[in-house]
């Protein structure tokens, strides 16, 4: 029965399947819809109220009524401290623990998927969700902004003006920045997900860490720690709205997130490779 030359697929099938399962789930759509609701809520609220007094509320809020393109960026500023980490925590915390709770982890492993490959595929899936989440906020914000408000050239933080087309490109870059910002948290979620078979526990722990990091980040007494927090550059994406674009925070952020991926990826690897699968 065994074939003489064992057939080997590239292994992309598992990744395709992972993305397909992730983005076919109703829960994933619910999370993305909740994220899309944030810019919609902001835009509708501004449209219905009289012009907001400048200087109050999140940055860019006062600009929205003049230029609908700012809805997406405003929504990101609102979403990044809690809503985005919440959805990332759900997806990243579910990676391994969710499979364990369904009883599918053992069947994936004896298929055999290989433990390292499964871990990598799971992380790529979580990263893909980070991108989808950031993109959802930006796209939903831009669309609702264009529908409810006038759209025109965007005045940057440096005072210069760019055309709508270039503004849209910068918004895409911002979505990329936010995605990268969330990769460290995803790696933490993946690691926590390997230590438990209870997905809700892993989700809650990941989300709690995201909140804790920001609380620590707000305490001046712990300033020496701030550059090491994965949330340190989360709001740095506004640097992409300068002229010329200031890439420094983008680079620092990418480096910091890469560090988190290495450390927590290694921890997840060490834990998962030797774990007794009893689920």
């Amino acid at each position: 029965m065994p074939s003489d030359a064992p057939h080997r697929e590239s292994g992309a099938a598992l990744l395709r399947s992972e993305l397909w399962v992730l983005f076919r789930r109703r829960r994933t759509w619910a999370l993305l819809l909740a994220l899309a609701a944030i810019p919609i809520l902001i835009a509708v609220a501004i449209r219905l109220s009289s012009s907001p007094s400048p200087g109050r509320g999140p940055a860019f809020l006062d600009q929205v009524s003049q230029n609908g393109l700012f809805v997406g960026v405003t929504a990101l500023i609102v979403a990044i401290p809690l809503f985005l980490p919440l959805t990332i925590g759900v997806v990243a915390g579910d990676t391994i623990a969710g499979e364990a709770s369904h009883g599918t982890l053992r069947y994936l492993l004896i298929a055999p998927s290989g433990r390292v490959r499964l871990l990598v595929v799971k992380y790529i899936g979580a990263a893909a969700f980070c991108f989808a989440a950031a993109l959802t906020v930006v796209v939903a914000g831009t669309v609702i902004g264009a529908l409810l408000f006038p759209v025109g050239p965007v005045i940057l933080l440096s005072g210069t003006t760019i055309e709508v087309g270039e503004a849209l490109v910068r918004f895409l870059a911002i979505a990329g920045y936010v995605m990268i910002s969330l990769l460290g948290l995803s790696a933490i979620g993946l690691f926590i997900s390997t230590i438990t078979d209870v997905p809700v526990g892993a989700m809650a722990a990941t989300i709690s860490l995201a909140v804790a990091a920001q609380i620590v980040g707000a305490l001046p007494q712990l300033e020496w720690l701030h550059p090491w927090l994965f949330s340190h550059y989360w709001l740095g994406f506004v640097d992409l709205l300068r002229d010329p674009v200031s890439w420094a925070s983008f680079g620092d952020n990418a480096l910091l997130q890469a560090g988190y991926i290495v450390v927590f990826g290694a921890l997840a690897y060490g834990r998962f490779l030797t774990k007794d699968i009893l689920s």
Partner: protein, 339 residues
């Protein structure tokens, strides 16, 4: 401990042990599953069957001892071994929000040895084989336990396998489903597949298997062909006589320990075991037919001795112990879950 690596064995373990903290779930088992056999892995709940299976499949690392599956050492050669093994471990596990066929495609995509080009066709064939074609598009969350169990078996059959490990395969199935699974296992073995079935149900093992091993409290207490296991249980004599006290004395002289219970119409039923000490084959190679207890008297000698003493023999028979008696003797009766 012997060195292992017999090519005729599909599964071979040596001193296989798993401890969880201070608990020993599996205690130094030496299992030998011949290729081409239908091997029953029998034992009460909590006797260490599933943990042993998990070690064979590389899900759990042994605390000590060795496992070889299809000639490859586990866990070192798992990537070569596992594609040739189909398994159902501790019940089916599926994504409730996906359909039956989508679940199988998902799990199949994890196997790099399973060609993507034929995935749909193979999934359809496996579903057809377990009689689930009509429910292929239904979400697994809406499946009954029996349907999930069938889907789990279909998952083990997605590609041709040399070895199937089925942990309680008929769990949750109705009698019709149980018959179908039995039939399926028979057709698989006709194709040369070795089937390793665990069960706590003796009748199931007795109907399907050529070989069996019995687990009790983490240890292997017996293994061999079904005939070997029955033989080791030994036979019993059943004597119907009104002269019970005298009969017991005569039997004692012959070295047989017997007891009498009142029997309507015949006076008493006197029974005595012709077995050697229990557990003679525990972990040892199967006994050969010539290896019968020599010290005990043959039946005709017993009858002659009884008649010579003037005992009224109203009935005499020798009964081979049923596998069930053997099973109970090895694992103990009752509902206490081990540990």
């Amino acid at each position: 401990m012997t060195t292992i690596g017999d090519p005729d064995l599909a599964i071979e373990t040596s001193g296989l042990t798993k401890r969880f903290g201070s608990q020993t779930a599996v205690n130094s088992i030496d299992l030998a599953v011949p290729r081409g056999s239908v091997f029953g892995f029998l034992g009460p709940n909590g006797s260490g069957k599933t943990t042993s299976i998990r070690m064979m499949l590389g899900l759990v690392a042994p605390s000590s001892g060795e496992v070889r599956v299809l000639g490859g050492e586990v866990p070192r050669h798992l990537p070569e071994v596992l594609p040739r093994v189909g398994a159902l471990v501790e019940g089916p596990g599926f994504y409730p929000f996906l359909s039956g066929s989508a679940n199988l495609r998902r799990l199949d995509s994890a196997d790099r040895g399973a060609p993507s080009a034929t995935r749909r066709a193979r999934v359809d064939a496996a579903l057809d084989r377990v009689g689930l074609s009509h429910a292929a598009g239904k979400k697994v969350g809406a499946y009954s336990l029996g349907m999930k169990q069938r889907l789990g078996i279909a998952n083990a059959l997605l590609v041709p396998r040399e070895l199937l490990v089925l942990d309680e395969p008929t769990n949750g199935l109705d009698p019709q489903g149980t018959r179908e699974v039995r039939h399926l296992i028979r057709t698989l073995t006709d194709g040369g597949t070795t089937v390793f079935v665990s069960s706590h149900l003796l009748a199931e093992i007795e109907q399907m298997c050529t070989h069996a091993a019995v687990m009790s409290v983490g240890g292997l207490v017996a293994q061999g062909t079904l005939d070997d296991l029955r033989r080791v249980g030994g036979s019993r004599i059943r004597l119907l006589t009104p002269d019970s006290e005298l009969a017991i004395r005569v039997l004692a002289r012959l070295g047989l320990e017997s007891r009498a219970v009142p029997e309507p119409d015949a006076g008493y039923l006197v029974t005595a075991s012709l077995a050697r000490a229990a557990g003679a084959v525990a972990g040892a190679p199967p006994a050969t037919p010539g290896d019968r207890p020599g010290a005990l008297p043959v039946p005709e000698v017993i009858v002659a001795a009884l008649v010579a003493e003037g005992i009224r023999v109203r009935g005499f028979s020798v009964q081979r112990a049923s596998l069930e008696e053997r099973f109970v003797a090895l694992t103990g009766e009752g509902f206490d879950i081990a540990q």
